[in-house]
C-alpha cells in the first residue's frame, strides 16, 4: 500500500497549509460514519459534537496558519490571509448553524450524520473556493460548496416549502454552474492558462490576438464568469432564487447560506477580479459598479413590504451583497479589506438575527413578522439580539454594521467611485424602512396599539400597502395564537438564544472597539499581490 502511494507522481503537498481542509474533510467522513451507529443518543448528541470538534479543529488550524502565506499543490490553492479569514467566517457560521440546528427538525428528518456531514463538506467547498487561484480548483470548490447545500435546503423533506426550495436551488444553481464552467472554458481557450496569475499576465503581456482585452472569446468568457459568481453571491438580476430558497430552507441552513456562501462567493469575486483580471479594472469596474447599484436598489426595495422574516432577510442579503461588491469595484487593497471587514460584520449581525428568528419560529410555527409582535416583552433574550441585528444591518453607529459601511464608503471615495457610495447611503436609508419595522413590531406594547403603529409605519417605509404582501395590522386572534414557550422556567431554546446573544454582543463590542477588525481586514487586503 505504502509502496503503491510512492509510485504515484503527485505534486509535493504542504500538509500544514492543507490542514484546515483536512480537518473539515476528515471530520465530514467521521461524522458520516458515526451517523450510521444505531443508538439515538449517539446520533443526536455525538454527531453534532463531532461536527463542532471538526469545525473547532478547522478554526484552530486556520488561526495557526494565519500570517504564513503559501501557495500549495502546484499553485492550485493559495493559503493566504484573505482565504483564511473567509474560511474562518464560514467555519464560525457553520458552528452557529450546528448549534441552531441541534434540537431542530432538519437533522432529525435528514439523518444526523448526513445533515452534519454535508454541512462540513459544504464548508470545505467554501474553503477550497476562497483559497483557489486556479480555474479548476475554483470550479471544484464551487461544486463542493453547492451540491451539499442543494440537499440541505431540502432537509426537512416532509415540508413542501423545503422541498421546493431545494429543487429550485438545484435547478437554478445548475444553470449558474453551467454558465460559470462555460465561461471558464472560454477563458482557458483564449489564454491557454488556468492559473489566475498566469491569466493575469497573459492579459497584460498582450499575448492575445488584437492586443489586450479585445478578444471576443475572452470577453464572453468573462461575462459568463461574472454571471456565475453573481449567482452565488445573489447579485441582481441573478438573485431571484434567493428569497424563494431562503424562505423555504430550514432556518439554520438559511442563516448558513446567507453568511457563509456569500462570504465564499465574494472571496472568489475578489480573487478572480483583483488577480486574474486586475489589469482591466478600468473596463470591468464600471460594469460591476452598475451591477452593485442595481443590486442595492433591487434588494432594498424588494425587502420592503415582505411579511416573512426569512424572505425579508433574503432580499436584505441581496442588498448587502451589493454593498460588498463596492469593495470589489475599486480594485484596491483598501477595497479588499473593506469587503472582508463587511463580511465579518455581516456574519455577526445576520447570525444574531437568524438565531433570534429560529428561537421565535420554534414557538410560533412560522417566521411571519406578526409572530414577532410583543417579542420584547415576551422574550427579551431573543428580542435584543434581533434588535441589534436589525439596527446593525441598517448601519446604525455603535454596531459593527456602521464600521463596515464606513470602511466601504471610505474605499469607494478613495477609489473614485463616490457615486456608488451615494447609492450605498440611499440604499441604507431605504433599508431603515424594513429593518425598523421589525424593531417597532417587537417592542410595540399591545396588539391593539401595534396594529395602528404598523399601519402608520407602512407609508414611511414607502411600501405599497398592496394586497397580500403587507401586514395589515395584527389582529388579536393572530397575536393570541402565538404559542407560549413550553416551560416558563428559564430561557427557551438556550443554545439558540446563546448564539444570538454572543453574536449580538460581538457586533456591539466590535462596533465600539473596531481596531482588531481593522487589523484583521488589512491583513486580508495585503494578501493579494499587486494591488495598491
Amino acid at each position: 500500500m505504502i509502496a503503491a502511494v510512492h509510485h504515484i507522481a503527485g505534486p509535493p503537498i504542504d500538509w500544514k497549509g492543507l490542514s484546515p481542509l483536512l480537518a473539515l474533510g476528515g471530520g465530514a467522513v467521521i461524522v458520516l460514519l458515526v451517523g450510521l451507529l444505531r443508538p439515538a443518543a449517539v446520533r443526536e448528541r455525538i454527531v453534532p459534537l463531532l461536527t463542532v470538534v471538526a469545525l473547532g479543529a478547522a478554526i484552530g488550524t486556520e488561526i495557526w496558519r494565519f500570517n504564513h502565506p503559501g501557495s500549495i499543490i502546484h499553485g492550485a490553492l493559495s493559503i493566504d490571509d484573505l482565504g483564511l479569514i473567509v474560511d474562518l467566517i464560514c467555519a464560525v457560521s457553520a458552528l452557529a448553524t450546528v448549534l441552531m440546528s441541534w434540537r431542530g427538525v432538519a437533522p432529525r428528518e435528514a439523518g444526523q450524520g448526513e445533515f452534519y456531514g454535508l454541512l462540513l463538506f459544504s464548508v470545505m467547498g467554501m474553503a477550497v473556493l476562497s483559497s483557489s487561484q486556479d480555474i479548476v480548483t475554483l470550479f471544484l470548490g464551487l461544486e463542493l460548496l453547492s451540491i451539499p447545500l442543494y440537499i440541505l435546503c431540502a432537509a426537512e423533506h416532509r415540508r413542501e416549502g423545503s422541498l421546493e426550495s431545494g429543487l429550485k436551488y438545484l435547478v437554478i444553481g445548475s444553470v449558474g454552474s453551467a454558465t460559470l464552467v462555460y465561461g471558464l472554458a472560454m477563458i482557458y481557450g483564449a489564454t491557454g492558462q488556468t492559473g489566475f496569475a498566469q491569466i493575469g499576465s497573459a492579459l497584460t503581456s498582450g499575448a492575445l490576438s488584437g492586443g489586450v482585452f479585445s478578444d471576443p472569446l475572452l470577453l464572453t468568457g468573462l461575462a459568463l464568469v461574472t454571471v456565475g459568481f453573481a449567482f452565488k453571491a445573489s447579485v441582481a438580476p441573478f438573485h431571484q432564487w434567493t428569497p424563494d430558497v431562503y424562505e423555504g430552507a430550514p432556518t439554520p441552513i438559511t442563516a448558513f447560506m446567507a453568511t457563509a456562501t456569500k462570504a465564499a462567493a465574494l472571496a472568489i469575486f475578489l480573487r478572480f477580479f483583483d488577480v486574474a483580471a486586475s489589469s482591466a479594472q478600468n473596463k470591468w469596474g464600471p460594469l460591476i459598479a452598475t451591477i452593485a447599484a442595481v443590486t442595492i436598489i433591487v434588494g432594498n426595495v424588494g425587502a420592503l413590504g415582505q411579511t416573512s422574516m426569512k424572505r425579508m432577510l433574503g432580499y436584505s442579503g441581496v442588498a448587502q451583497a451589493g454593498y460588498m461588491l463596492a469593495g470589489v469595484v475599486v480594485g484596491t487593497s483598501l477595497g479588499v479589506s473593506a469587503t472582508v471587514l463587511y463580511l465579518g460584520a455581516y456574519l455577526m449581525l445576520n447570525i444574531a438575527a437568524f438565531a433570534a428568528i429560529v428561537a421565535v419560529e420554534r414557538d410560533a410555527g412560522d417566521d411571519q413578522l406578526s409572530g414577532f409582535a410583543g417579542l420584547g416583552a415576551r422574550n427579551p433574550w431573543a428580542a435584543w439580539p434581533l434588535t441589534i441585528g436589525m439596527l446593525g444591518l441598517a448601519g446604525i453607529p455603535g454596531t459593527v454594521g456602521f464600521i463596515g459601511k464606513f470602511q466601504l464608503i471610505h474605499a469607494l471615495v478613495d477609489g473614485d467611485y463616490t457615486w456608488l457610495a451615494i447609492v450605498l447611503v440611499i440604499g441604507s436609508m431605504i433599508s431603515l424602512g424594513y429593518y425598523l419595522r421589525v424593531v417597532a413590531t417587537m417592542w410595540m406594547p399591545a396588539a391593539g396599539t401595534a396594529a395602528t403603529s404598523a399601519a402608520a409605519l407602512a407609508p414611511i417605509a414607502g411600501a405599497a400597502p398592496s394586497e397580500e404582501e403587507l401586514v395589515a395590522g395584527f389582529p388579536p386572534a393572530e397575536g393570541s395564537g402565538v404559542v407560549a414557550p413550553p416551560d416558563d422556567t428559564g430561557v427557551p431554546h438556550p443554545e439558540v438564544v446563546l448564539v444570538a446573544g454572543v453574536f449580538a454582543a460581538a457586533s456591539v463590542f466590535f462596533g465600539i472597539i473596531p481596531s482588531p477588525l481593522f487589523d484583521f481586514a488589512s491583513h486580508a487586503g495585503a494578501a493579494l499581490p499587486g494591488l495598491f
Binding site: V171, T220, L287, G305, Q407, S466, I513
Partner: protein
C-alpha cells in the same frame, strides 16, 4: 499608578453607577439607588485626587499625559481615538466636578426621597457626571464633542425630569435646541481647525497651529468664533442664554449641579482648553470677552427684578459665568478657573439653601410669598448668608479673591479690556444688590404663614401639588416632586453637603490670595508653558488695590438693598413705580425671548408655514415624496411581480442579464 490610569478610573465609576442603577431600576429598595450613585461619584472623586497626587509627583515639564484606550476609527485621515488628556487643567476640572457632584448627590438622597422617579433621577445624574467628566478629560476634539453632546442630553433629561409638567418639557426642549446650536458651532469650528492641522488631538493641534496659522488668520478666527458659539450656548451667554432661566424647571439639586456648578461652566473650560488658538486669534478672544461682559451686566440687571428665587440665582449664575468667560477670553486663565471653582462652591450652596426654603414653602418658589424665614430655618439662613457674601465678593469669602482675580487682570491687560473691567465692577455692584434683595426678602421681615408654622415645628404641606410657574394642578401619576417636602434642618445628608460647601465658600479664597499664596496658578502653569498671557499677572500691590475696591463696590450694593428692603420697606415699590419703564424692561428680561421670537422663531415659523403650504404640499408631497414613494412602490411592485416563483422566468432573467453583460464587454473593448 500613572495619572492616566487614575483618569480612566474617574470615568469608570460614574459609568458603572449609571449602568448598575439603571439595570436594577425596578428592584432597588428605598434609597439604595441614591447611595449607590453617591458612592460611585465619591469613588470618582477619590480617583481624581489620585490623579492629582500622581500628577504632582511628576516633573512639571511632564505633566501633560495622553492615554489612548483604543482607536475607534483611524481612517480617512481622521485619527479618532478614545483618548484622554490628563494635565493640570483637566485634573483641576475633574476635582471640581466630581467633588461638587458628590456633595450634590448626597444632598439629593434626602431631597428627592419622596419622588417616584428616585431611581431614574440617580441614573440620569450619574450619566450626567460621566458626560461632564468625558468632556473635561477628552484628549481630542471628537471625544470633546461626544462629551459636549452628552451633557446636553443629560441636561435635557433632567430639566424635563418631571415630564408630566408641560412647562418642564417645554423648558427641556428649549434648552436642548439651543444647546444643539452650540454643538453645531463646536463641530463646525473643529472642521475649520482640522482642515489646516490635519489632526483632532489637542496637543498635536496646539503644536501645529503656529506652523499653519498666522495671527488672526481668517479660518482660525472663524473656527474660534464657532467655538465661542458652542461656549455661549452651553454657558448661557447672550444671546443664547434664554434656556437657562427656564431650566429651573428641573429639580433643585439639578439646578445646583448642572445649571450652576458644572455644565454651564463648560464654555469657560473650552476657552481655557483651547487657549493657544484664542491667543493666536485675538479678535475672536475680544468678541468672547465683550459678550461675557455684556452677559454679566444684562443677567445681573434682570436678577434685580425677578421674583422666582431659583430664577434669581439662575440669572446670577449667568452673570458670574460672564465674568469667567470674560476672564478666560482676556487671558486670566487661572483667575477664570479659580472663579469657576469658588462659584461652584457658593452657587451650589445657594441653590441647595434655596431648595431648602422651597421645601419649607411646600414647593412655592416666589419671593413675593417668602419672608421671615431667619428664625425658622437658622441653618439654611446661615448657609444662604455665607453663599451670598461669597457671591457678592465680600472679604474673607472665596468670591472676593476669585472675582477680583478676573477683574484685576482685565485692568492690567490693556487694550479694550480695562473698559470691560469697569463693566465688571458695575456687575459687582449689581451682584450685591440682587443677592441681598433675595436674602432680605426671604429671611427678614414679618414671618410668612409657612415660617410661623415651621417655628412651631410643622412643615407646610401643599393641599394639591401645583406647578409653581402656572399654578396648574399637577399630574401626580409619575415623576412628580412628591407630597413630602424636605428642609435641610431635618435631614443630615443635606446638612453635611451644605456645611462642606459653606466651608469651601468661606475659605477657598485663601489659597490664591495675592501675596499670601498662589496654589492655583502654580498648579496650572505647566499647562500654559506656551502662553504669553498666563504669566502676565498684575503685581501684588496692584492686585490689592482691586481687592480693596471691588468689595467696597459690592458693599455699596448690599447697603442699597438694605435701604430698599429693610431700612425703608416699601421704598422698592415706590422706586418700581417711578422707574416703571425700566422695571418693565428688566422684568421682561430685556425682551430677549421676544426678540428671539421676532428675529428667529416667527420668521422661521413663517418660512415653515410657507414651506408647508407651498413646498411641502405641492413640491415635496406631490413631486418628490409622491415621486419617490411612487417610484419605490412601482419598483417594489415590479420586483415582486418578477418574483413569480416560476423557474423559467428566473432563467429568462439570467439570460437577459448575461446578454447585457456580454454586450457591455464587447462594446467597451471595441
Amino acid at each position: 499608578m500613572s495619572p492616566t490610569a487614575w483618569g480612566w478610573l474617574v470615568l469608570l465609576f460614574p459609568l458603572l453607577g449609571a449602568a448598575v442603577i439603571s439595570a436594577g431600576w425596578n428592584r432597588w429598595p428605598a434609597r439604595t439607588a441614591g447611595w449607590l450613585g453617591t458612592l460611585a461619584i465619591a469613588l470618582s472623586f477619590v480617583c481624581s485626587v489620585g490623579a492629582l497626587l500622581s500628577l504632582l509627583g511628576r516633573d512639571p515639564a511632564h505633566r501633560e499625559v495622553v492615554s489612548t484606550l483604543w482607536s475607534y476609527a483611524v481612517s480617512s485621515g481622521v485619527d479618532g481615538k478614545l483618548q484622554i488628556l490628563v494635565d493640570p487643567i483637566s485634573v483641576f476640572m475633574i476635582l471640581v466636578v466630581s467633588g461638587v457632584s458628590t456633595l450634590i448627590h448626597l444632598y439629593s438622597v434626602s431631597y428627592m426621597k419622596g419622588d417616584r422617579g428616585f431611581v431614574r433621577y440617580f441614573a440620569y445624574l450619574n450619566y450626567f457626571v460621566l458626560s461632564m467628566l468625558v468632556l473635561v478629560l477628552a484628549g481630542n476634539f471628537i471625544l470633546l464633542i461626544v462629551g459636549w453632546a452628552f451633557v446636553g442630553a443629560a441636561s435635557y433629561m433632567l430639566i424635563s425630569f418631571w415630564y408630566r409638567r408641560s412647562t418642564a418639557t417645554g423648558a427641556g426642549i428649549k434648552a436642548f435646541v439651543i444647546n444643539v446650536v452650540g454643538d453645531v458651532g463646536l463641530v463646525l469650528g473643529t472642521f475649520f481647525i482640522f482642515r489646516h492641522t490635519g489632526t483632532v488631538q489637542f496637543l498635536q493641534t496646539f503644536s501645529q497651529i503656529h506652523h499653519v496659522f498666522r495671527v488672526d488668520s481668517t479660518d482660525l478666527v472663524a473656527g474660534c468664533l464657532l467655538f465661542l458659539v458652542g461656549a455661549f450656548a452651553k454657558s448661557a451667554q447672550v444671546p443664547l442664554h434664554t434656556w437657562l432661566p427656564d431650566a429651573m424647571e428641573g429639580p433643585t439639586p439639578v439646578s445646583s449641579l448642572i445649571h450652576a456648578a458644572t455644565m454651564v461652566t463648560a464654555g469657560v473650560y473650552l476657552i481655557v482648553r483651547l487657549h493657544p488658538l484664542f491667543e493666536l486669534a485675538p479678535t475672536a478672544a475680544e468678541v468672547g470677552a465683550i459678550v461675557g461682559c455684556a452677559t454679566l451686566l444684562i443677567a445681573g440687571s434682570i436678577g434685580l427684578v425677578v421674583v422666582d428665587i431659583k430664577r434669581v440665582i439662575a440669572y446670577s449664575t449667568m452673570s458670574q459665568i460672564g465674568y469667567m468667560i470674560m476672564g478666560a477670553a482676556a487671558g486670566a486663565y487661572s483667575g477664570a478657573l479659580f472663579h469657576l471653582m469658588t462659584h461652584a462652591f457658593f452657587k451650589a450652596l445657594l441653590f441647595m439653601a434655596a431648595g431648602s426654603i422651597i421645601g419649607a414653602m411646600a414647593g412655592d418658589q416666589s419671593l413675593d410669598r417668602m419672608s421671615g424665614f431667619r428664625k425658622a430655618m437658622p441653618f439654611t439662613f446661615l448657609c444662604f448668608i455665607v453663599g451670598g457674601l461669597a457671591l457678592s465678593g465680600i472679604p474673607p469669602f472665596s468670591g472676593w479673591v476669585s472675582k477680583d482675580d478676573v477683574i484685576g487682570y482685565t485692568f492690567h491687560r490693556g487694550g479694550i479690556y480695562p473698559i470691560l473691567g469697569v463693566g465688571g465692577e458695575l456687575g459687582a455692584l449689581i451682584t450685591g444688590m440682587y443677592t441681598f434683595r433675595m436674602i432680605f426678602r426671604a429671611f427678614f421681615g414679618a414671618p410668612s404663614p409657612e415660617a410661623v408654622e415651621l417655628q412651631h415645628g410643622h412643615l407646610a404641606h401643599a393641599e394639591v401639588p401645583r406647578n409653581p410657574m402656572t399654578g396648574e394642578e399637577e399630574d401626580t401619576d409619575v415623576g412628580f416632586p412628591g407630597p413630602e417636602h424636605v428642609i435641610a434642618e431635618r435631614e443630615w445628608p443635606m446638612k453635611v453637603a451644605m456645611s462642606l460647601l459653606a466651608l469651601g465658600a468661606l475659605a477657598a479664597g485663601v489659597i490664591q490670595l495675592p501675596g499670601v499664596d498662589h496654589v492655583i496658578s502654580t498648579f496650572l502653569s505647566p499647562a500654559f508653558t506656551g502662553s504669553k498671557l498666563f504669566h502676565h499677572d498684575p503685581s501684588t500691590g496692584t492686585a490689592w488695590i482691586g481687592l480693596i475696591v471691588t468689595p467696597i463696590v459690592g458693599l455699596v450694593g448690599i447697603v442699597t438693598a438694605y435701604r430698599l428692603y429693610i431700612a425703608a420697606p416699601g421704598s422698592s415699590k415706590r422706586l418700581q413705580e417711578r422707574l416703571a419703564p425700566v422695571h418693565t424692561f428688566l422684568y421682561n428680561k430685556w425682551y430677549f425671548d421676544e426678540l428671539i421670537d421676532i428675529v428667529v422663531v416667527r420668521p422661521a415659523l413663517l418660512v415653515g408655514r410657507l414651506a408647508e403650504s407651498v413646498l411641502e404640499r405641492i413640491v415635496i408631497g406631490g413631486g418628490v415624496t409622491g415621486g419617490v414613494t411612487g417610484s419605490v412602490r412601482a419598483v417594489s411592485a415590479g420586483v415582486r411581480r418578477a418574483q413569480t416563483g416560476l423557474l423559467r422566468l428566473y432563467a429568462a432573467a439570467v439570460i437577459l442579464g448575461l446578454s447585457a453583460i456580454a454586450l457591455y464587454f464587447l462594446i467597451v473593448s471595441s
